[in-house]
Protein backbone atom coordinates (compact mmCIF):
# COMPACT_ATOMS: atom_id res chain seq x y z
CA UNK A 1 0.00 0.00 0.00
CA UNK A 2 1.13 3.55 -0.54
CA UNK A 3 0.27 4.74 2.98
CA UNK A 4 3.18 5.61 5.17
CA UNK A 5 3.90 3.20 7.98
CA UNK A 6 2.46 4.17 11.28
CA UNK A 7 4.64 1.92 13.28
CA UNK A 8 6.63 2.99 16.25
CA UNK A 9 9.58 0.67 16.11
CA UNK A 10 11.06 1.80 19.40
CA UNK A 11 7.78 1.05 21.17
CA UNK A 12 7.81 -2.50 19.87
CA UNK A 13 11.41 -2.93 20.96
CA UNK A 14 12.34 -3.67 17.38
CA UNK A 15 14.68 -1.87 15.14
CA UNK A 16 14.77 -2.34 11.45
CA UNK A 17 17.86 -4.21 10.33
CA UNK A 18 20.13 -2.83 7.67
CA UNK A 19 19.76 -4.26 4.19
CA UNK A 20 23.10 -5.80 3.40
CA UNK A 21 22.43 -7.60 0.13
CA UNK A 22 19.65 -8.24 -2.34
CA UNK A 23 19.88 -11.21 -4.71
CA UNK A 24 17.27 -11.86 -7.34
CA UNK A 25 16.17 -14.33 -9.97
CA UNK A 26 13.67 -13.95 -12.76
CA UNK A 27 11.99 -17.30 -13.41
CA UNK A 28 9.29 -18.59 -15.70
CA UNK A 29 6.98 -21.30 -14.42
CA UNK A 30 6.78 -23.66 -17.40
CA UNK A 31 4.05 -26.01 -16.23
CA UNK A 32 2.57 -27.41 -13.06
CA UNK A 33 0.51 -30.38 -11.92
CA UNK A 34 -2.55 -28.29 -12.73
CA UNK A 35 -1.52 -26.62 -16.00
CA UNK A 36 0.40 -28.30 -18.84
CA UNK A 37 1.42 -24.96 -20.30
CA UNK A 38 1.96 -21.98 -18.01
CA UNK A 39 4.70 -19.64 -19.23
CA UNK A 40 4.17 -17.55 -16.12
CA UNK A 41 7.08 -15.29 -15.08
CA UNK A 42 7.85 -14.52 -11.44
CA UNK A 43 10.61 -12.76 -9.50
CA UNK A 44 12.34 -14.45 -6.55
CA UNK A 45 14.45 -12.42 -4.13
CA UNK A 46 16.73 -13.11 -1.20
CA UNK A 47 17.32 -10.22 1.19
CA UNK A 48 20.20 -10.30 3.68
CA UNK A 49 19.50 -8.18 6.74
CA UNK A 50 21.98 -7.34 9.51
CA UNK A 51 20.56 -6.63 12.95
CA UNK A 52 22.12 -4.23 15.46
CA UNK A 53 24.51 -6.91 16.73
CA UNK A 54 25.68 -7.66 13.20
CA UNK A 55 23.91 -11.00 12.97
CA UNK A 56 22.72 -11.61 9.41
CA UNK A 57 19.40 -13.23 8.58
CA UNK A 58 18.16 -14.13 5.10
CA UNK A 59 14.65 -13.89 3.73
CA UNK A 60 13.62 -15.46 0.45
CA UNK A 61 10.29 -14.90 -1.24
CA UNK A 62 8.52 -14.64 -4.59
CA UNK A 63 6.69 -11.77 -6.22
CA UNK A 64 4.23 -11.89 -9.07
CA UNK A 65 5.09 -9.60 -11.97
CA UNK A 66 2.41 -6.99 -11.09
CA UNK A 67 3.72 -6.98 -7.50
CA UNK A 68 7.26 -6.58 -8.73
CA UNK A 69 6.28 -3.66 -10.95
CA UNK A 70 4.43 -1.97 -8.09
CA UNK A 71 7.41 -2.52 -5.77
CA UNK A 72 9.82 -1.19 -8.36
CA UNK A 73 7.69 1.95 -8.97
CA UNK A 74 7.44 2.71 -5.27
CA UNK A 75 11.17 2.27 -4.67
CA UNK A 76 11.81 4.75 -7.49
CA UNK A 77 9.28 7.10 -5.94
CA UNK A 78 10.98 6.79 -2.58
CA UNK A 79 14.42 7.51 -4.05
CA UNK A 80 13.03 10.62 -5.73
CA UNK A 81 11.64 11.82 -2.41
CA UNK A 82 14.94 11.15 -0.69
CA UNK A 83 16.61 13.49 -3.18
CA UNK A 84 14.33 16.29 -2.05
CA UNK A 85 15.19 16.04 1.65
Amino acid sequence: SKECLNMDLSERGLTAGKLVDMKWKLGVAVCSDECKSLNSPFVAMTLKVADASGKISTHTFELTIPQFQNFSEQMKDMAARMEMI
Binding site: L14, S32, V49, H59, F61, M75
Partner: protein
Protein backbone atom coordinates in the same frame (compact mmCIF):
# COMPACT_ATOMS: atom_id res chain seq x y z
CA UNK B 1 -8.03 -38.24 -15.85
CA UNK B 2 -11.42 -37.77 -17.47
CA UNK B 3 -11.47 -41.44 -18.48
CA UNK B 4 -12.04 -42.39 -14.85
CA UNK B 5 -14.80 -39.86 -14.44
CA UNK B 6 -18.27 -41.19 -13.77
CA UNK B 7 -20.07 -39.04 -16.31
CA UNK B 8 -23.53 -40.23 -15.34
CA UNK B 9 -23.09 -38.61 -11.93
CA UNK B 10 -22.73 -35.24 -13.69
CA UNK B 11 -26.39 -35.43 -14.64
CA UNK B 12 -27.16 -34.27 -11.12
CA UNK B 13 -26.34 -30.81 -12.46
CA UNK B 14 -29.64 -30.90 -14.36
CA UNK B 15 -31.35 -30.35 -11.01
CA UNK B 16 -30.06 -26.77 -11.07
CA UNK B 17 -32.88 -24.29 -11.41
CA UNK B 18 -30.85 -22.02 -13.69
CA UNK B 19 -27.69 -21.88 -15.79
CA UNK B 20 -26.23 -19.40 -13.30
CA UNK B 21 -26.44 -22.09 -10.61
CA UNK B 22 -24.41 -24.45 -12.80
CA UNK B 23 -21.83 -21.71 -13.36
CA UNK B 24 -21.58 -21.19 -9.60
CA UNK B 25 -21.19 -24.91 -8.94
CA UNK B 26 -18.42 -25.25 -11.53
CA UNK B 27 -16.63 -22.26 -10.09
CA UNK B 28 -16.93 -23.51 -6.51
CA UNK B 29 -15.77 -27.00 -7.50
CA UNK B 30 -12.67 -25.75 -9.32
CA UNK B 31 -11.66 -22.99 -6.90
CA UNK B 32 -12.63 -24.56 -3.56
CA UNK B 33 -11.90 -28.11 -4.67
CA UNK B 34 -8.18 -27.44 -4.91
CA UNK B 35 -7.95 -26.39 -1.27
CA UNK B 36 -10.10 -29.29 -0.05
CA UNK B 37 -12.41 -26.83 1.60
CA UNK B 38 -15.08 -28.26 3.93
CA UNK B 39 -17.65 -25.74 2.73
CA UNK B 40 -17.66 -27.06 -0.84
CA UNK B 41 -20.12 -29.91 -0.33
CA UNK B 42 -22.66 -27.78 1.53
CA UNK B 43 -22.33 -24.93 -0.97
CA UNK B 44 -23.00 -27.22 -3.93
CA UNK B 45 -25.91 -29.00 -2.19
CA UNK B 46 -27.44 -25.61 -1.51
CA UNK B 47 -27.01 -24.43 -5.11
CA UNK B 48 -28.62 -27.58 -6.55
CA UNK B 49 -31.04 -28.49 -3.77
CA UNK B 50 -29.55 -31.98 -3.59
CA UNK B 51 -28.54 -34.34 -0.80
CA UNK B 52 -24.87 -34.73 0.26
CA UNK B 53 -24.64 -38.44 -0.67
CA UNK B 54 -25.52 -38.05 -4.33
CA UNK B 55 -23.67 -34.73 -4.58
CA UNK B 56 -20.29 -36.09 -3.44
CA UNK B 57 -19.93 -38.34 -6.48
CA UNK B 58 -20.93 -35.52 -8.82
CA UNK B 59 -18.36 -33.18 -7.28
CA UNK B 60 -15.59 -35.76 -7.74
CA UNK B 61 -16.49 -36.29 -11.38
CA UNK B 62 -16.94 -32.60 -12.16
CA UNK B 63 -13.64 -31.80 -10.45
CA UNK B 64 -11.91 -34.46 -12.54
CA UNK B 65 -13.36 -33.10 -15.81
CA UNK B 66 -12.60 -29.44 -15.02
CA UNK B 67 -9.05 -30.22 -13.89
CA UNK B 68 -8.42 -32.14 -17.12
CA UNK B 69 -9.71 -29.22 -19.19
CA UNK B 70 -7.62 -26.63 -17.34
CA UNK B 71 -4.54 -28.89 -17.35
CA UNK B 72 -4.61 -29.15 -21.13
CA UNK B 73 -5.69 -25.54 -21.59
CA UNK B 74 -8.16 -26.42 -24.34
CA UNK B 75 -9.27 -23.45 -26.44
CA UNK B 76 -11.63 -25.20 -28.88
CA UNK B 77 -15.10 -26.41 -27.85
CA UNK B 78 -14.60 -29.66 -29.81
CA UNK B 79 -11.55 -30.55 -27.70
CA UNK B 80 -13.66 -30.35 -24.55
CA UNK B 81 -16.75 -31.97 -26.04
CA UNK B 82 -14.70 -34.99 -27.12
CA UNK B 83 -13.99 -35.72 -23.42
CA UNK B 84 -17.66 -36.62 -22.90
CA UNK B 85 -19.22 -39.97 -23.89
CA UNK B 86 -21.18 -39.82 -27.18
CA UNK B 87 -24.50 -40.47 -25.43
CA UNK B 88 -23.99 -37.77 -22.81
CA UNK B 89 -26.71 -35.15 -22.53
CA UNK B 90 -25.75 -32.67 -25.27
CA UNK B 91 -27.07 -29.47 -23.70
CA UNK B 92 -25.34 -30.17 -20.40
CA UNK B 93 -22.14 -31.07 -22.25
CA UNK B 94 -22.24 -27.81 -24.19
CA UNK B 95 -23.03 -25.79 -21.06
CA UNK B 96 -20.08 -27.25 -19.16
CA UNK B 97 -17.89 -26.63 -22.23
CA UNK B 98 -18.96 -22.99 -22.40
CA UNK B 99 -18.45 -22.45 -18.66
CA UNK B 100 -14.96 -23.96 -18.83
CA UNK B 101 -13.95 -21.80 -21.80
CA UNK B 102 -15.38 -18.65 -20.21
CA UNK B 103 -13.51 -19.27 -16.95
CA UNK B 104 -10.27 -20.67 -18.37
CA UNK B 105 -8.19 -17.56 -17.64
CA UNK B 106 -9.64 -16.95 -14.18
CA UNK B 107 -9.10 -20.55 -13.14
CA UNK B 108 -5.59 -20.64 -14.57
CA UNK B 109 -4.75 -17.49 -12.60
CA UNK B 110 -6.15 -19.09 -9.46
CA UNK B 111 -4.05 -22.17 -10.12
CA UNK B 112 -0.94 -20.02 -10.45
CA UNK B 113 -1.69 -18.26 -7.16
CA UNK B 114 -1.91 -21.57 -5.31
CA UNK B 115 0.89 -23.45 -7.05
CA UNK B 116 4.17 -24.61 -5.56
CA UNK B 117 6.05 -21.49 -4.53
CA UNK B 118 8.55 -19.91 -2.20
CA UNK B 119 6.95 -17.76 0.52
CA UNK B 120 5.07 -14.96 -1.21
CA UNK B 121 5.32 -11.22 -0.75
CA UNK B 122 1.78 -10.14 0.10
CA UNK B 123 2.24 -6.48 0.99
CA UNK B 124 4.84 -3.84 1.74
CA UNK B 125 4.88 -0.41 3.34
CA UNK B 126 7.56 2.24 3.56
CA UNK B 127 8.37 5.38 5.47
CA UNK B 128 10.98 8.05 4.89
CA UNK B 129 12.82 9.22 8.01
CA UNK B 130 15.47 11.84 8.61
CA UNK B 131 18.09 10.97 11.19
CA UNK B 132 18.65 14.15 13.17
CA UNK B 133 21.25 13.01 15.67
CA UNK B 134 22.93 9.91 17.00
CA UNK B 135 25.24 8.98 19.84
CA UNK B 136 28.19 9.75 17.62
CA UNK B 137 26.94 12.84 15.75
CA UNK B 138 25.04 15.56 17.57
CA UNK B 139 23.48 17.19 14.52
CA UNK B 140 22.87 15.52 11.24
CA UNK B 141 20.26 15.26 8.55
CA UNK B 142 20.47 11.90 6.88
CA UNK B 143 17.44 10.54 5.05
CA UNK B 144 16.72 6.85 5.54
CA UNK B 145 13.97 4.67 4.34
CA UNK B 146 12.27 2.09 6.51
CA UNK B 147 10.74 -0.66 4.43
CA UNK B 148 8.42 -3.31 5.85
CA UNK B 149 7.65 -6.32 3.73
CA UNK B 150 4.94 -8.80 4.65
CA UNK B 151 5.72 -12.32 3.50
CA UNK B 152 3.26 -15.20 3.67
CA UNK B 153 4.88 -18.51 4.46
CA UNK B 154 3.81 -21.73 2.79
CA UNK B 155 1.06 -23.59 4.58
CA UNK B 156 2.41 -26.21 6.98
CA UNK B 157 -0.88 -27.32 8.50
CA UNK B 158 -3.68 -27.92 5.99
CA UNK B 159 -6.34 -26.57 8.33
CA UNK B 160 -4.74 -23.27 9.32
CA UNK B 161 -4.01 -20.16 7.25
CA UNK B 162 -0.30 -19.73 6.75
CA UNK B 163 1.46 -17.14 8.91
CA UNK B 164 2.68 -13.81 7.69
CA UNK B 165 6.04 -12.59 8.84
CA UNK B 166 7.43 -9.09 8.59
CA UNK B 167 10.83 -8.11 7.30
CA UNK B 168 11.82 -4.63 8.49
CA UNK B 169 14.79 -3.06 6.78
CA UNK B 170 16.46 0.29 6.87
CA UNK B 171 17.88 1.57 3.60
CA UNK B 172 20.35 4.39 3.15
CA UNK B 173 20.30 6.38 -0.09
CA UNK B 174 23.28 4.36 -1.35
CA UNK B 175 21.63 1.02 -0.53
CA UNK B 176 18.41 2.16 -2.19
CA UNK B 177 20.28 3.22 -5.34
CA UNK B 178 22.00 -0.17 -5.51
CA UNK B 179 18.64 -1.86 -5.07
CA UNK B 180 17.17 0.27 -7.86
CA UNK B 181 19.99 -0.86 -10.18
CA UNK B 182 19.05 -4.45 -9.48
CA UNK B 183 15.35 -3.75 -9.99
CA UNK B 184 15.99 -2.05 -13.34
CA UNK B 185 18.01 -5.07 -14.49
CA UNK B 186 15.03 -7.26 -13.64
CA UNK B 187 12.75 -4.92 -15.64
CA UNK B 188 15.09 -5.16 -18.66
CA UNK B 189 15.10 -8.96 -18.44
CA UNK B 190 11.33 -8.97 -18.10
CA UNK B 191 10.86 -7.00 -21.32
CA UNK B 192 13.14 -9.38 -23.19
CA UNK B 193 11.23 -12.38 -21.78
CA UNK B 194 7.98 -10.75 -22.84
CA UNK B 195 9.28 -10.20 -26.37
CA UNK B 196 10.13 -13.88 -26.92
Amino acid sequence: MAAHCDFSSLELLMKASSKEKVVKVCNDVYVMGSSQSDGLLSSVCESLGTRPNETKKMIESLSSVLKTIIFHGYTEPQEIQSLFPKDFHKNLRDLITKIALDNMNTWKTHSISTQVSLPRLVDFDWRLDTKMASDSISRTSVPTCILQMKVQENQTDVKTTPENHNINVELSKETLDTMLDGLSKIRDQLSSVARR
